[in-house]
């Protein structure tokens, strides 16, 4: 039998939930940040535990392995130095040509490294939290990437942490361009709840010449993501809406399951 107190409790909880759900956006965001800051001591604990584990792993790594890794890194450094020299030459040439033609020069990317501190606990969103916040100059909508490619954008910022919505989340849509002769454009959006590495490229025109393994980059349209950041490669293409347009599945270049450090791109 239901008692009066049961009804009162039910009513109070429903009322509280409705009030919190209908709070103005800014108030809700502040309350969210305040509640999230309760976990700060655990962030520190988890970070120091990771450091201790990392240090222990470093300590038990054999010297032979370290020497081998050192040699590999030296080789890679030399290769990258050569590439950087070549790139500087090409960039100089590009700048001279742009000046001749009268095009606006591209601004170099300003990047800041951030550590991934938390992942999304709910199964119906894709987001991470990073250890940079407003005190580090972060703002909403800054692009986030790894050395492999685009990861997502900053969705909300607190003093010490920020939330990044990842590619494949319904709240992260990106204007993209395919690297082919027709330079087809479309919009990258979520594909489904299970495949974390696959996204959907939608709104491709009927005349698009799409093939698997073609590379996809940001198109620079939309105003959030600058042009030319790698997104991934086309897996397959299929007509939709009775063949009026095409839709492609794209395998992401960055491994979103193994994100530990990301770069935030500043304007």
């Amino acid at each position: 039998m239901l008692k009066r107190s049961h009804y009162i409790t039910l009513g109070l909880v429903v009322l509280l939930a409705l009030v919190v759900l209908n709070l103005p956006g800014q108030t809700a965001a502040r309350l969210k940040l305040a509640l999230g800051s309760l976990f700060l001591p655990l962030f520190g604990l988890a970070g120091s535990t990771q450091q201790v584990v990392g240090a222990a792993a470093d300590a038990i790594l054999p010297r032979r392995e370290l020497v081998k890794q050192n040699a590999q890194l030296r080789q890679e450094e030399q290769r990258l130095r050569l590439q950087a020299l070549q790139a500087a030459e090409i960039a100089g040439e590009n700048a001279r040509l742009r000046q001749l033609v009268g095009w606006r020069a591209q601004t170099p990317w300003k990047l800041k490294l951030a550590k991934v501190v938390l992942r999304e606990p709910a199964n119906w969103w894709r987001s991470i939290q990073i250890d940079l916040g407003s005190r580090d100059g972060l703002q909403v909508n800054l692009p986030v990437l790894t050395t492999e490619g685009l990861v997502g954008r900053v969705a909300s910022v607190s003093l010490t942490r920020s939330q990044v919505v990842l590619l494949g989340d319904p709240n992260c849509k990106v204007a993209a361009r395919v690297e082919n002769e027709t330079r087809d454009t479309g919009v990258i959006s979520a594909d489904g709840p299970l495949a974390a590495q696959l996204v959907r490229m939608d709104y491709l025109s009927r005349g698009a010449e799409l093939k698997p393994a073609q590379r996809v980059f940001t198109s620079g349209e939309g105003g959030i993501f600058p042009k030319g950041i790698p997104i991934g490669q086309i897996v397959d293409v299929q007509p939709v809406d009775y063949g009026l347009r095409y839709e492609a599945r794209v395998r992401l270049a960055a491994n979103l399951n193994a994100l530990e450090e990301v770069w935030v791109m500043f304007p």
């Binding site: 939930a17 919190v20 759900l21 509640l35 709840p193």
Partner: protein
């Protein structure tokens, strides 16, 4: 003892929310992150009062939403709904049986996220939702079935280790004492009633 139990439950919810956000290996292995809050709600509803159930739903729901992209407060109602229904029917549930705990944990782990998704869709949000959600619910169901008996075991152990238990009443009753002596034995006496066996015996003729 009650407030200590509530504190244990809230502490466990806090750590569970952080653990779910900090360690996401289950999502990469199985395609879904196991939710530990609904099985914890099963434990709270079966072993504590309605105040604890309410506190757990409100605090754990808000903590979960603060680390998630969910709108703040959307997890509170589904968690409370699960706890409230189990609390109302708890006299009919064999709460000490691990099988019953597992079944309730599995059911709660499916119902709570399904209600949250329904609430999100009703509010006009666009969460990731499709055929893959069914597989995620299966993983959540299996995770909840495993987690519920573990919570019960963990809290049982915690209470055994940390909570003072009052001395148990002895089965000895002074009014049922058998006294032997010169005047004979007192057997089967009840509330001062005395049966003198010696007197009731017929005397032997000398």
């Amino acid at each position: 003892m009650n407030w200590l139990n509530t504190a244990f439950i809230l502490g466990a919810a806090f750590l569970a929310v952080f653990g779910q956000a900090a360690f996401g290996s289950a999502r990469f292995l199985a395609g879904a992150q196991v939710d530990l809050l609904p099985p914890l709600m099963v434990y709270a509803a079966l072993s504590s009062g309605l105040t604890t159930v309410t506190l757990l739903a409100v605090c754990a729901g808000l903590w979960f939403d603060s680390l998630s992209a969910n709108p703040l407060g959307v997890t509170v109602l589904p968690l409370f709904a699960v706890g409230w229904v189990i609390f109302l029917k708890r006299e009919l549930i064999l709460r000490d049986q691990p099988f019953a705990q597992a079944v309730l944990g599995a059911a709660a782990s499916v119902v709570a996220p399904a209600l949250t998704l329904l609430l999100l869709l009703t509010m006009g949000s666009h969460p990731l939702f499709g055929w893959g959600t069914l597989w995620q619910l299966v993983v959540l169901c299996a995770g909840g079935a495993l987690a519920a008996p573990v919570w019960f075991e963990l809290f049982g152990w915690l209470q055994h280790a940390l909570v003072h238990r009052g001395a148990t009443e002895s089965s000895f009753r002074p009014d049922r004492e058998i006294r032997r002596g010169r005047r004979g034995a007192l057997i089967g006496g009840y509330r001062g009633e005395v049966i003198d066996r010696a007197r009731s015996k017929p005397r032997r003729p000398r």
